[in-house]
Assembly symmetry: C2
Homo-oligomer: 117 residues x 2
Amino acid sequence: MEEKINLAEKLTLFADYWSPRTVANLNENSIMVVKVKGEFTWHKHDDTDDFFLVLKGRLTIQMPEREVVLGPGELFVVPRGIEHRPVAEEETHLLLIEPTGTPNTGDPATAVPQKFI
Amino acid sequence: MEEKINLAEKLTLFADYWSPRTVANLNENSIMVVKVKGEFTWHKHDDTDDFFLVLKGRLTIQMPEREVVLGPGELFVVPRGIEHRPVAEEETHLLLIEPTGTPNTGDPATAVPQKFI
């Protein structure tokens, strides 16, 4: 059976940005941690909402009509179909939840493969 | 469109134990916060895994063959079909994710109704 997951410990095991690591499965979803810094690409997911919870740092989620700025302990769900671009000025750690196999860029051609940790 | 969710702020808005509040929807799932203290009932969910992330405090999840003890920043997914009982000696704050409509006791007859906050 699975062990408990310590998110801070998992985040010590890698250093690259914008490359989520799956730490657990929840039904058909992947629970992931990711380190981000800088600007990601504008993208959208037509078939799924996009969950962001900040564990450390500060994340801006830009959308066409507005933006939200998240600190530790703050979450936001980008509704499916809404273009968005995550931006972090400093290194920021996130918890993500997405249906397993969701391309992180919104496009399988440019998405990073799923990595477990 | 939804606003960002500050989990600590949401947790100031209620005081009762074992009564999850839904703070956001993620596809067909409810993202919930809950305050717990004491022993919950033994139960299981045949159709869904059960996600627990400790935000504050300390949670023991008892299962027939073992138990896990979670502190802040630690999560555990109880696989579907596994009997479990959450126990907290001190007031403990959790983030839960479950398919919308999942009875918290595993049984619709005894479950608390879904509450939004």
